[in-house]
C-alpha cells in the first residue's frame, strides 16, 4: 500500500534533485528547469497531505502554484531571450557583471 510517507519521500527526492540543479547548474535555462522541478515537488507534497487530511485547501494551493509557475515561466523566458540576444550566452559565469 502506498501511503503518505511514500509521497513525501518522492517529493523530498525530487526537491533535492531540483535543489542540486539550482546549486550546480551554470546555464540559466537549466536553472529555470530546476526551480520548476522544486515547485512541482512541493505540489506533490501539497496534494498528498491534502488527500491525507481530507482537506481541499492544499490542492487548491497546488493549483495556484501551477498557475503562478506558468506565468513566471512566461515572464522568465522572455527575460532569458532578451539576455541571450544581448550577451549571446546564458552561462552564469559569463554574466557576472555585479562583482563587488
Amino acid at each position: 500500500m502506498i501511503g503518505l510517507s511514500h509521497y513525501l519521500i518522492v517529493s523530498a527526492i525530487i526537491f533535492s534533485i531540483g535543489l542540486v540543479g539550482v546549486l550546480r547548474r551554470r546555464n540559466l535555462l537549466m536553472l529555470f528547469f530546476a526551480t520548476e522541478v522544486m515547485l512541482n515537488a512541493v505540489n506533490i507534497a501539497f496534494a498528498a497531505i491534502s488527500h491525507y487530511y481530507n482537506d481541499l485547501t492544499g490542492q487548491m494551493f497546488a493549483f495556484f502554484i501551477i498557475a503562478i509557475a506558468a506565468s513566471e515561466v512566461a515572464v522568465g523566458l522572455g527575460i532569458l531571450i532578451v539576455l541571450y540576444k544581448k550577451h549571446g550566452s546564458l552561462d552564469l559565469d559569463d554574466l557576472a557583471s555585479m562583482r563587488g
Binding site: V22, R26, L31, L92, D93, L95, A96, R99, G100
Partner: protein
C-alpha cells in the same frame, strides 16, 4: 502697573540683544548710550513701582505665562513685586545704570566695547529675574544666569596668559572665571537639593504656597531644606569655605567688579535667605540660623584680616565686600532680616562707589593696582579722591554716612541677641574695616609721592564719568537717614521680617554706637599715623614686617588657595588622569572602537561573497536557508 513690571524686567534684555547685534564690530559709542538708557528706563520703572508700593502697600503679582506643565508639576513664569524684591530691583537697576555710564568711559579703549555692554545688560536682566521671580525655579534660572554672565565678564580679557601664583594670585582672567563658575556649581548643587526638598514635601515651588506649608513639615525636612539652600547662598555670596573665587574675580574689568562682585550678584545669597525668611525663622531651624550668624561673623573678621596687609587695591575692596557680606549673614542669622536688607542696599551704594573710584585710579595708573607704587594721588585726581574718601568713611561706619546706620544696627542686633562673642568680634572687625579702608585711601591718595619716580603720570577720569558717579556718592551719604522710613515700609510684609531691639538694648544704644564709632576712629587714626604722613614720618616698607609670620599668613590668604590646589585640584587632576588613561581610553573608548573594527573587518572579509555570479549567490542562499532551518529546529527542540 503690570506694564511697569515688564519694562523693568525686559529693558535690560532689549539692551543686551541690541548690543549683541554689534558684538563683533568695532566700538560704537551709541551702543553704550542706548544700553545705559535702557537700564535707566528699568530703574525708573522700578522706582515708580517702589514708590507706588510705598504709597499703597499693595503687592503686585503678575503671571506672564505658563512655563512647565508636566503631570502634577506646574510652574509659571510669575513675578512678585513686594517690599523685598522692590528694594533689590531699585538697588540693582540704580547701581547698574551708574556702572553702565561709567563703563562708557572706562572701556573707552577696549576693542570689545560692544560685547562688554551686551554681557553687562544680560547680567542685569538675569539679576532682575532672580529678584523678581515668585517661585524658586525662576530664582534658580536667574541665579544661573548671573553665574554665566559673571563667568563671561570675569573672563572678559580671556586672552591674558596664565601667570604664576606668586606674581598674580588670581593667575589669569580665564582661570579666575573658571574658578568662580566651578565653585558656584558646587554650591548650586546644594541649592538645587534644597529646592527639591521643598518641592517634594510641599508640592509647590511658589514662595507663598511653600511658606504656607512650612508649619506642617517635620523638623528634619525644614533643617535639611534650610541647610541646602544656605549652601547655595554660601557659594554665590562667597562665604567660607567657598570664598576664594571672589577675590580672584577681580581679574574682570572694574565696572564688573563694582556691579557684580560688590553691589549685586554676591548679595544674591543674602537675598535668598531674606526671601526664605519664613523658613529661617522657624523654631526648628534656629540652629541653622545661629550657624549662619556665626559663619557670617567669622567671615567678616577673616576677610577683614586678609585686607589688612593686601597691596592690590581691588583685592582690598573685594575683601571688604566679603567682610560686609559676613555682616549681612550675621544679621540674617540673628533674625534681623530687614536690617540685613538695608545694609545690603547701603553697602551696594558705597561699595560700588569705592570700586568705581578704584577703577579711576586703575585707569589713571595704566592698570597698576599696587598701592605701594601710588601715593599722593589726590593732587592729580581730586574728584576721585573725594569719592573714595566718602565711600571709605561710609564703609568704616562713621556717622552720618550710610554704613554707620546699617552696620551699627547689625552690631546692635548681636548685642541684643545676647550673643556677646559675635558682638565683640563684629566690633573688632569694624575697627579693622576702618583701618584697612583708610590704609588704602592713605596709601593711594596721601603720603609721599611714589608713582612719579616709577614713571607714572596719572590723570583724572572723564568729567561725565565723575558726574555719573555722583548719585552713588549722594546715596552713600544719605541712605542711612531713611532707615526709619524703610523700617516702616518693610514691616508691612509680615511678622517674620520684623525685628526690634529690646528695651534694654534701646537704652544702651547710644553707648553701643559710640563704642563702634570710637573703635572705627582709632582704626582710622592708626592708619593715618602709619600710612598718611609725609616727610620724615612717611611710611616705608619694612623687611622685618613683611617676613613676619602673620604677614606671610595673611598675604597668602591663610594658605587656603594653596591648600585647595594641593589637596583638591591636584588629586582631582591625578584621578582624572587615571580615569582618562585607564578607564576612558582602555575600556570605554576601546569598546566603541572594537565594535567599529569588528564591523569593518567582517565587512571586508565577507565582501568576497559578492562575486557577481548568480550561481554563487544561490549557493549562499541555500546555506542561509539551511542555517535558518537548523535554528528553527534547534529552538523547537529546546522549547
Amino acid at each position: 502697573m503690570e506694564t511697569l513690571v515688564y519694562i523693568a524686567l525686559f529693558a535690560p534684555f532689549v539692551g543686551s540683544l541690541f548690543a549683541a547685534l554689534f558684538g563683533m564690530s568695532e566700538r560704537r559709542i551709541f551702543v553704550g548710550v542706548i544700553g545705559s538708557s535702557l537700564i535707566g528706563l528699568s530703574f525708573i520703572a522700578s522706582a515708580i513701582l517702589a514708590y507706588n508700593l510705598y504709597l499703597t502697600g499693595t503687592v503686585i503679582q503678575v503671571t506672564m505665562m505658563d512655563w512647565i506643565h508636566a503631570g502634577d508639576f506646574n510652574v509659571e513664569f510669575g513675578f512678585v513685586i513686594d517690599q523685598i524684591s522692590v528694594t533689590m530691583m531699585t538697588v540693582v537697576t540704580l547701581v547698574s545704570t551708574v556702572v553702565h555710564i561709567y563703563a562708557i568711559g572706562y572701556m573707552d579703549h577696549d576693542k570689545s566695547f560692544n560685547r562688554f555692554f551686551s554681557y553687562l545688560s544680560a547680567f542685569v536682566f538675569s539679576m532682575m529675574i532672580l529678584v523678581m521671580s515668585d517661585n524658586f525655579l525662576g530664582l534658580f534660572i536667574g541665579w544661573e544666569g548671573v553665574g554665566v554672565c559673571s563667568w563671561l565678564l570675569v573672563g572678559f580679557w580671556y586672552h591674558k596668559p596664565d601667570q604664576d601664583r606668586k606674581d598674580n594670585p588670581s593667575i589669569s582672567p580665564s582661570w579666575a572665571a573658571n574658578e568662580a563658575f566651578i565653585m558656584n556649581r558646587i554650591a548650586d548643587l546644594g541649592m538645587l537639593i534644597g529646592i527639591f526638598i521643598l518641592y517634594w514635601n510641599t508640592g509647590s515651588l511658589k514662595y507663598d504656597e511653600v511658606f504656607a506649608q512650612l508649619p506642617y513639615l517635620s523638623d528634619s525636612v525644614l533643617v535639611g531644606a534650610a541647610i541646602a539652600l544656605f549652601i547655595g547662598a554660601m557659594g554665590k555670596s562667597a562665604q567660607f569655605p567657598l570664598h576664594t573665587w571672589l577675590t580672584d574675580a577681580m581679574e574682570g574689568p572694574t565696572p564688573v567688579s563694582a556691579l557684580i562682585h560688590a553691589a549685586t550678584m554676591v548679595t544674591a545669597g543674602v537675598f535668598l535667605v531674606i526671601r526664605s525668611n519664613p523658613l529661617y525663622s522657624m523654631d526648628a531651624v534656629s540652629g541653622v540660623s545661629f550657624f549662619i550668624a556665626s559663619l557670617g561673623t567669622f567671615v567678616a573678621f577673616y576677610a577683614a584680616s586678609m585686607a589688612l596687609v593686601e597691596r592690590d587695591l581691588k583685592r582690598i575692596i573685594a575683601y571688604s565686600t566679603l567682610s560686609q557680606l559676613g555682616y549681612m549673614f550675621a544679621a540674617v542669622g540673628l533674625g534681623a532680616y530687614w536690617i540685613a536688607l538695608f545694609h545690603l542696599a547701603a553697602h551696594a551704594f558705597f561699595k560700588a562707589l569705592l570700586f568705581l573710584g578704584g577703577g579711576n585710579v586703575m585707569h589713571a595708573m595704566h592698570d597698576e593696582l599696587d598701592l605701594f607704587k601710588m601715593g599722593a594721588l589726590r593732587k592729580k585726581m581730586r574728584g576721585t579722591w573725594i569719592y573714595m574718601t566718602v565711600a571709605s568713611i561710609a564703609l568704616a561706619g562713621l556717622p552720618p554716612l550710610a554704613g554707620f546706620w546699617s552696620k551699627d544696627a547689625i552690631i546692635e542686633t548681636a548685642f541684643n541677641e545676647h550673643t556677646y562673642i559675635l558682638w565683640i568680634v563684629l566690633v573688632i572687625t569694624a575697627g579693622m574695616t576702618a583701618f584697612y579702608s583708610f590704609r588704602q585711601v592713605f596709601l593711594s591718595f596721601h603720603g609721599e609721592d611714589r608713582h612719579t619716580a616709577l614713571g607714572f603720570d596719572p590723570h583724572e577720569m572723564y568729567k561725565f564719568v565723575l558726574v555719573a558717579m555722583s548719585p552713588l556718592a549722594v546715596l552713600a551719604v544719605i541712605t542711612g537717614w531713611f532707615m526709619g522710613t524703610y523700617k516702616a515700609f518693610i514691616y508691612n510684609i509680615g511678622t517674620t521680617v520684623q525685628y526690634d531691639m529690646s528695651e534694654h538694648t534701646h537704652h544702651l544704644a547710644t553707648y553701643l554706637g559710640l563704642l563702634v564709632i570710637f573703635v572705627a576712629l582709632s582704626g582710622i587714626a592708626y592708619a593715618y599715623i602709619k600710612y598718611g604722613q609725609t616727610g620724615d614720618k612717611a611710611w616705608k616698607r619694612s623687611e622685618k614686617v613683611e617676613n613676619g609670620f602673620f604677614y606671610k599668613l595673611l598675604i597668602n590668604q591663610y594658605y587656603i588657595p594653596k591648600f585647595y590646589e594641593e589637596f583638591i585640584t591636584k588629586p582631582y587632576m591625578m584621578i582624572s588622569e587615571v580615569l582618562w588613561k585607564k578607564v576612558d581610553l582602555k575600556i570605554v573608548d576601546a569598546t566603541v572602537d572594537n565594535i567599529a573594527k569588528f564591523l569593518y573587518v567582517s565587512g571586508d572579509k565577507t565582501r568576497s561573497m559578492q562575486t557577481g555570479n548568480l550561481s554563487n549567490y544561490l549557493n549562499w542562499m541555500a546555506v542561509g536557508a539551511v542555517l535558518l532551518l537548523l535554528i528553527a529546529a534547534i529552538s523547537a527542540m529546546i522549547a
